[in-house]
Symmetry: C2
Subunit: 336 residues, 2 copies
DNA sequence: TTTAGCAGTCGAGCATTGAGAGTGCTAACA
DNA sequence: TGTTAGCACTCTCAATGCTCGACTGCTAAA
């Protein structure tokens, strides 16, 4: 989009969006003139508006109403009108430190925090664990025919689970431990779970096949259990928006928020972008009149998931972006 | 409530409710006469209806409309008109076995299953862990200044976590293990976490205070992390109900479903009842025009949580109860 | 006790109306 | 060429009144 807007058109557009975001009612030429551009007449603004409408930035609900921003306008808005200075860091910090004790709690409650602070519906999706690296695997004999499997990973997470042991010979567990470490240490979860590697092991380590199969099963179960888990908070926030006056909006919103798979899909879409903003149905099917802002989260530099906000297209992008950014920093910078 | 209803009144009431549950529109005298009691005239039914209304079982939305059941009517209905025979066991079994492989998955997806099958919003709450019994606690030296804590409980759950070790002397971990086992084995989580016991230990085991404190912390964190976790599925189901035509209904419903604390409270209320049915605001504040059916869940005889359905007051109680009962049996009877 | 008949009540749907809000256009002006 | 005032036009919204249809409650008779 290399359409250039004149300075005045920019001003008008920004004024209209700013105003619309707070009032959520069609904005008229007189409105803008009074509060933002008192030096020109409403008629002038009308002609600017009508031009902006031609360019696709504005929509008229009907002929005798004011105008409303289009998705394109919001996109222009987030790209051009939002700067980092708008961020209110301290307030969020205070808010969080007042209500949450530990880091773990903050991460666990990420969605709730964001929803509380922004007053929009928000969601937290746990990153998939493909790049999780195994540091060590240990079997711990429980002396009752089973063993405890400990999987030590690079993100400090340890997965525990019991598996049944085959007939136990004296140093069976010990040997198995050595083999497991040798086979798995340093590998990522997805490397391990690729079928190729399974075949290799099958032929080489016949005696320990059972153990290995158990471990594979545990790993894949673990992976599955973490796969894109998604938590939604504040779904009822929509009733605080004026948009909820319109039944279809509520229904759309709710049916989207209810479909976790759909949300996961939306969140996953841009796995490689730090911040993603999707506005309206043109950006993602099903997002009619809605927008989704999401951000990656890291703990000690390692990606742990995504946090997102979903709300009406006219959401307060400044606020949402600043909250997501700040929370991201807070989470990433903590020393456990 | 020891009001006796005549046989005919019962018939009329049941007919009206049955009909209302499917049509969700006020039921008229003629309606009932035609489909249920063709041997008497509408006028007769009218007088019965007007009597039932006096008794508080029926409500007239307005004078020229038919009648609608009151909360009291639903209560009478679930207590008197539902028998166990109505249950359709096979279909549910099939449905579940088609879509889910393992028991773990069924438990994890309990809310989703119930929501899918009943077409109502449903929720799953994990039981609190007060009665969880510790079988053993083991420290596993990681040789990097920290140790892995393994807590082996009676429900096969094993909690894993690292804690920092104080200066390590040779057999420190070994001794600690002995002490931990001696102190904790056989106790329940709530026994351990009572402050009384902490004091005992403080005086007796000064050298290992740090370890014990670490373990206490882990246990209480564990408890907290499991405390009444609640998952809601199918919140958007309300849009399939005719009730959603009414904006206030939707809003009420959504704001209840959005408030997890409130839902937890409602679920916890009757912790000692196997099946609980709450109908309308008289049974629980905030439940206007809604009903909540919930049931305890057990795995191998041990309570693991509650499953509930929340929907309009006129929900299909037969179906919901049968699904909850059957799923309960399926979960309890499985051999891992 | 039951019933038929009938008057009475109310809601849903529809058309009509007037007020209010904004726009687009035109013609004049800088 | 860009800006402006003025005005006609369009459309929504809320209020009003109307009719139609659906039930009920009552009364009087069986």
């Amino acid at each position: 989009m290399d359409e250039r807007l004149t300075e005045r058109k920019k001003k008008v557009l920004q004024a209209l969006i700013d105003r619309y975001i707070t009032s959520v009612e069609p904005i008229s030429s007189g409105d803008i003139q009074k509060k933002y551009l008192p030096d020109v007449s409403p008629a002038t603004i009308r002609s600017e508006l009508s031009h902006l409408e031609e360019m696709g930035y504005l929509i008229k609900p009907h002929i005798s109403a004011g105008r409303v921003p289009s998705s394109k306008a919001y996109r222009y808005y987030v790209e051009n009108f939002i700067s980092d200075e708008d961020i209110d860091l301290e307030q969020l910090r205070k808010n969080i430190s007042q209500n949450y004790d530990s880091v773990v709690e903050i991460v666990r409650n990420g969605a709730k925090i964001v929803s509380d602070v922004t007053n929009y519906t928000s969601m937290l999706m746990i990153a998939n664990s493909d790049t999780l690296t195994i540091k060590d695997i240990k079997l711990l004999d429980m002396y009752d025919g089973s063993a405890l499997v400990l999987i030590i990973t690079d993100s400090g997470v340890i997965k525990d689970k019991e598996i049944k042991l085959p007939k136990i010979e004296d140093n069976y567990v010990e040997v198995a431990n050595g083999l497991l470490a040798k086979s798995f240490a340093g590998k990522t979860l997805s490397q391990i779970l690729s079928s190729q590697m399974q075949v290799d092991l099958d032929s080489e380590l016949e005696d320990f096949r059972q153990i290995f199969e158990g471990v594979f099963e545990l790993l894949s179960e673990y992976k599955k259990s973490r796969e894109g888990q998604l938590f939604v908070e504040g779904a009822d926030k929509i009733f605080d928006y004026p948009e909820s006056k319109n039944y279809d909006n509520v229904k759309n919103f709710m049916s989207l928020v209810g479909k976790k798979e759909k949300l996961q899909e939306l969140m996953k879409d841009d796995a490689d972008i730090e911040f993603s903003i999707k506005i309206g149905a043109e950006d993602a099917a099903g997002l009619d009149n809605m927008a989704l802002v999401s951000a990656k989260y890291h703990v000690k530099g390692k990606e742990v998931g995504q946090l997102g906000v979903i709300g009406p297209e006219r959401m307060d992008y400044k606020k949402v972006l600043s909250v997501l950014k700040q929370l991201g920093k807070i989470i990433d910078n903590l020393d456990d």
